[in-house]
Symmetry: C2
Subunit: 367 residues, 2 copies
Amino acid sequence: MSPSKDNPTERRRPATVSIRDVAQRAGVSIATVSRAVNHISTVNAELAQRVWKAIEEVGYLPNTQARALVSGRSKMLGLIVSEITNPFFPELVQEFENLAVAQGYEVLIGSTNYDPARTESLMRRLLQRNVDGVAVMTFGVEEDLVKKLVEREFPLVFVDAAPDLSNIHVLKVDYAEGIRQGVQHLAALGHRRIAFISGPLTQRSPRARREAFLKSMAELGLKVPPEHLVEGSHNMEGGITAMERLIALPELPTAVMCSNDMTAIGALHALYRTTHKVPEDISVVGFDDIHLAQFMLPPLTTVQMSCRDLAAAAVEGLRAGIEQDHPRHGRREWHIPTRLVVRQSSTFPRGSLPALVSGTQPKRSGS
Amino acid sequence: MSPSKDNPTERRRPATVSIRDVAQRAGVSIATVSRAVNHISTVNAELAQRVWKAIEEVGYLPNTQARALVSGRSKMLGLIVSEITNPFFPELVQEFENLAVAQGYEVLIGSTNYDPARTESLMRRLLQRNVDGVAVMTFGVEEDLVKKLVEREFPLVFVDAAPDLSNIHVLKVDYAEGIRQGVQHLAALGHRRIAFISGPLTQRSPRARREAFLKSMAELGLKVPPEHLVEGSHNMEGGITAMERLIALPELPTAVMCSNDMTAIGALHALYRTTHKVPEDISVVGFDDIHLAQFMLPPLTTVQMSCRDLAAAAVEGLRAGIEQDHPRHGRREWHIPTRLVVRQSSTFPRGSLPALVSGTQPKRSGS
DNA sequence: ATGAAAGCGCTAACAC
DNA sequence: GTGTTAGCGCTTTCAT
């Protein structure tokens, strides 16, 4: 309760309890308290007892700042995402936080909003705060900076779009396999004319997904006419515009695979404004399994990349970088698997045999 | 580039540049560097110049931990939400972060998942990290703890559900006005038989919203038969169940006001499984304007409480508490206004004159 | 106006 | 095993 020093003028500073208060109370030195707190095995059991009792009594909380200062470890992790309001991220953040906290780390989150200036200042802020490592879940971090950090052996984890450097961890989402899962699902239902709405083709990851689509179709011996390959922008607007172009075709494809969920949701919106019904007239499949997907009408069939796996790999990668004693060289890659989540935006193509037998209406029970 | 002390064994510690490196480089004392960095006006302009140049050259970043340790201010704010995956929060988090960063603060986020144990450990973590203040955007923080913190004059901001204590800031969302806006909107469209799906009535805030609904209806001289008052649980499941009960009534109400958006979304789902169409057969209005609302089919008409206002008030409240010199007493309340966002889940009741004239189909342009 | 020095709360040598 | 003490990087008196 009483501050360490009984300063008569009592400077405006929160009256916190310090290690000295505990030491005094327990009748030991501050070193012993420190050792007890850190569970150093050499402390006499009885003394430790007394210390813990004193800690309870005075309500002592070790000051993490001081600890960080002397140990050189802040026990904080930086997490950089592009925009926290993008429905994909909150879940990732949640998982990341859970895992980090379980390991005794705190998380400093920042969103870049795709703004390079913001990204840079964010990075600086994180470094100033002495985070022990940073997980970069977006692109657009300047390569120079990354290089400098790598030289310092500063732990970094990237997802997908990583600079081509060694000594960093990269989380690789298996887009190819994910897209294939979606395509195979549609083909299995009987679809042949499957269109694809891609992301912005200026970026690498959307291009990779498009390639994966073409490859999956080729594997099945299915042709993709050029007008079935539309470019979107990985957000709802892009999905709407792209779908409108497909709707304008002389013949509607029976299914659309989308490069991500927001695109698929845009497609759903475009179709909602027409007389075409999902999934009876056209099946729609997304990619990501963002939270939103399950709430859509109809609930969206999509390909999930495990947030938990992603987060786990990120935290693990950072921890490895932080706690290693002799730096391990070489770039480590982590493989993040995907899996298909069948909901109600996909069904047999209209007029196909199974559709005639069961009715095109999918079951509408649980979401 | 070189560490402050040239320790031959070079302990595993990131080679950071310290204030001493700058001082040496600029040929001044560390005190001068400190003053220059902090823009103390008494420093000689020419010296300051030299210092800044040196800072550039050696790539110095002030260590926030050390700063915090000596100043007693961490320049970090805690933000406690119930669950980051609840679509209402990411936006709040984003705004909060933006504002805090603009003021030089970093944000430590934590979610409680409605778990008291987790909440408590979260609070302890935040205090240990020496955050300068905490915004509590959920209920369930133990009153005892709060009381202790208030005694220490620790800055706290609560939203809505605040313990009954003085010396804290409370953000009051004007539910009564918000609900009224929804009801008036429906009444203006010509609805008379308006049902209400509430949240769990064991909690205060849902009860307040229900009261507000009854009051708003009474103001308009509209009766609410008991079967039009259904209890939900502020999530989709609850919304579905509640709506199913309304659907089972001999006569469907022409409109439903919902205690929050997730409930409304549940209602939409329940209706989707029937032949009733939204909004032609029944209008649905939500409350919160979560991100999801605009993506629903049809896009959800709802009452928005301004995230930006909420976040701004929270940050302002904390800053006031942190930077005040002489503690201001009394509990300060901030009023957060609401506003109606008309989308496409509400329209005239079927068969009403305007409906016949314009067709019940609402315009389906931009979402 | 500038520098020397004390000390924020803690950990980790180093003595005993 | 325990206590004493020297810093971690910085701000802030207090001299000059």
